[in-house]
């Protein structure tokens, strides 16, 4: 059955142009190398739409799969179901006002997005951040990394069939939410980091909670290792599934754990260290196989490395202010705002105009978010609003990887592969 008559079968009731072009591009994919065979008596070729609403796609993503029986011949992705034009919004807000939008991009680890924006603006505007703020940011980022990887573990193993792991990891995530609650005032989308430092200092209560978490979490991690590390079922589902070959990985721009599981030890924390990552010791877990199992091991080891970093940060945490004192660059502390005239004026100016990087300055700064390299390319026109803020989202590149590694896999492995790549649609769709 020639699938060139798919257009006659598609009966779109909305966005007709869009559906037509999507199915046309699916048809055109790999046309030079595939053989169109006319005899298909069992009618085993079919086009399956894993639609935007699906229990196992992480967020709203649409895959159009051409199947031959159970094997996927080719796949096309349709993203943009969560596109809100965040870059356009950025051109209309001051840099500090944009902070909550960054939380909502990679919504599994909001702290690292905040730090990404802050460090990018601090680079372009040449702001000096006090030492204590650097260490607090590092603790927050590593907690966010653990939180994101826990959710990845829960959902990937739940999609593979073991629903219990989801409940276990959410129990741990609730502990991190409690820490974030004490530290930043909100469980989840924190916006704790500020340009020039952080919003407020760690209270003793929060510090106690973090220390306790750093004590007890490695035992929980051991439980997950005990369940999954030598589990025959888990291995059968994940070994040699969704293989990303080492020679392809760089060309297709895989980022983060996906790239590290394919053999390249590329981590922004070592490539271009920010926030005192050059003063703590940690390793970069790497694997060579590039399959789903390798990604699993890489992320589990990253969680242990994160605990190591948190312990070192707690030991090294210096005393001092948590935000820079410069009135043109950072918000004054609330004491000054409430009890002094200059403080109130500074607060007003920062909210109204905000920090103004020099005109014509452009800079790119990336952090190592749990999903990969999250970078901000900012072009400034001298006002408090950026002229252009381009967000380099790791999930966007990792989804492109998906289009390439799914060809040839079984359709039942799709959910496990998507789980292994761990995309977050909020940042992929910006």
């Amino acid at each position: 059955m020639k699938l060139s008559d798919i257009q006659s079968k598609v009966n779109a009731t909305f966005f007709k142009e869009h559906q037509k072009k999507l199915y046309q591009s699916l048809e055109d994919k790999h046309t030079t190398i595939e053989e169109m065979d006319d005899g298909d008596p069992l009618n085993s070729k079919m086009i399956l739409n894993m639609g935007p609403q699906h229990p196992a796609t992480h967020g709203v993503i649409r895959l159009v799969l051409q199947l031959h029986g159970e094997t996927i011949e080719k796949v096309k992705l349709d993203i943009g179901y969560l596109h809100r034009g965040v870059e356009k919004i950025a051109e209309n807000k001051t840099y500090q006002e944009f902070m909550p939008y960054t939380d909502r991009m990679d919504y599994l680890s909001p702290y690292s997005n905040n730090v990404a924006l802050c460090t990018a603006v601090e680079k372009i505007a040449d702001v000096e951040v006090p030492e204590r703020a650097h260490y607090i940011r590092m603790i927050g980022c590593e907690l966010a990394r653990i939180s994101s990887h826990l959710l990845w573990l829960g959902t990937m193993v739940m999609d593979a069939g073991a629903v219990l792991v989801f409940i276990w990891t959410f129990k741990e995530r609730e502990k991190i939410y409690d820490i974030m609650d004490r530290l930043a005032g909100h469980r989840f989308t924190v916006s704790h980091s500020r340009i020039g430092g952080v919003a407020n200092d760690i209270t003793d209560e929060a510090m106690g909670a973090i220390k306790e978490f750093a004590q007890t979490f490695p035992n929980e991690l051991k439980d997950y290792h005990k369940l999954l590390d030598r589990n025959r079922l888990f291995f059968d589902r994940n070994e040699a599934v969704g293989v990303l070959k080492t020679e392809d990985a760089l060309g297709i721009a895989a980022k983060g754990p996906v790239l590290r599981a394919a053999g390249y030890a590329y981590d922004i924390r070592k490539f271009a260290p920010y926030a005192r990552y050059d003063e703590v010791e940690f390793g970069i877990p790497t694997r060579l196989e590039g399959d789903n199992l390798a990604r699993y091991f890489v992320r589990m080891e990253e969680m242990s490395e994160s605990i190591r970093i948190i312990r070192q940060c707690i030991d090294k945490l210096p005393k001092g202010p948590v935000r820079t004192d410069n009135a043109k660059q950072a918000y004054p502390s609330k004491d000054e705002v409430y009890y002094s005239m200059e403080g109130m004026i500074h607060d007003f100016m920062m909210t109204d105009t905000g920090i103004c990087p020099p005109e014509g300055a452009e800079s790119y700064h990336a952090v190592e978010a749990p999903k990969g390299e999250l970078g901000y390319f900012i072009q400034s026109d001298g006002t408090g609003h950026p002229w252009r803020m381009k967000i380099n989202a790791p999930s966007f590149s990792n989804l492109q990887v998906l289009e390439n590694i799914l060809d040839g896999e079984m359709v039942a492995d799709t959910v496990v592969i998507i789980g292994g790549l761990d995309p977050v649609m909020g940042e992929a769709d910006k």
Partner: protein, 160 residues
């Protein structure tokens, strides 16, 4: 049921009503339309600490044909709105809708070209939850409000 045509809104129908409503309210299976960050709080709402199962919302049925309450969690873009509407149409009556979070209720902080400023532009919403994202306690509160709403419905009269 020909009984209510004979007795009208009398004692029998209100008794049957309370029974049916009690059954429906305590087994409101949600259909999570988890789009964005509120979906994570919705997962926490179904998780071990804020257990939704004790309210009857035991299973998150991802199939619209088997669910009662649709929880729209996250900002709805114009591109996604058609899919959401189609899923809403596939849900059988009686059905209710919860707009979770600021983005689903009014578009939230995303006042821009891609986001529908509130899902009530194309869906009949029963309960709005404010918050960005709302705590799972707030989602439980909304679920309880839906349960109260179900308990005051005239189910028998509506079903015929």
């Amino acid at each position: 049921m020909g009984v209510e045509s004979a007795l009208g809104e009398g004692y029998l129908t209100t008794r049957v009503d309370s029974l049916v409503n009690w059954a429906r309210a305590n087994a409101a299976w949600p259909m999570p339309m988890g789009l964005a960050c509120c979906a994570i709080e919705m997962m926490a709402f179904a998780g071990p600490k804020y257990d939704a199962a004790r309210f009857g919302s035991e299973v998150m049925r991802f199939s619209p044909r088997q669910s009662d309450v649709m929880i729209v969690a996250g900002w709805c873009t114009y591109k996604m709105s058609h899919a959401i509407r189609r899923i809403w149409d596939q849900m059988p009556d009686p059905k209710w809708c919860i707009a979770m979070g600021a983005c689903a209720s009014t578009g939230g902080m995303h006042r821009c070209y891609g986001v529908v400023q509130g899902v009530d532009n194309f869906l009949p919403v029963d309960t709005y939850i404010s918050g960005c994202p709302p705590r799972p306690d707030a989602v439980l509160h909304a679920l309880m409000k839906i349960q109260d709403k179900i308990k005051t419905e005239h189910s028998v009269m509506l079903d015929t």
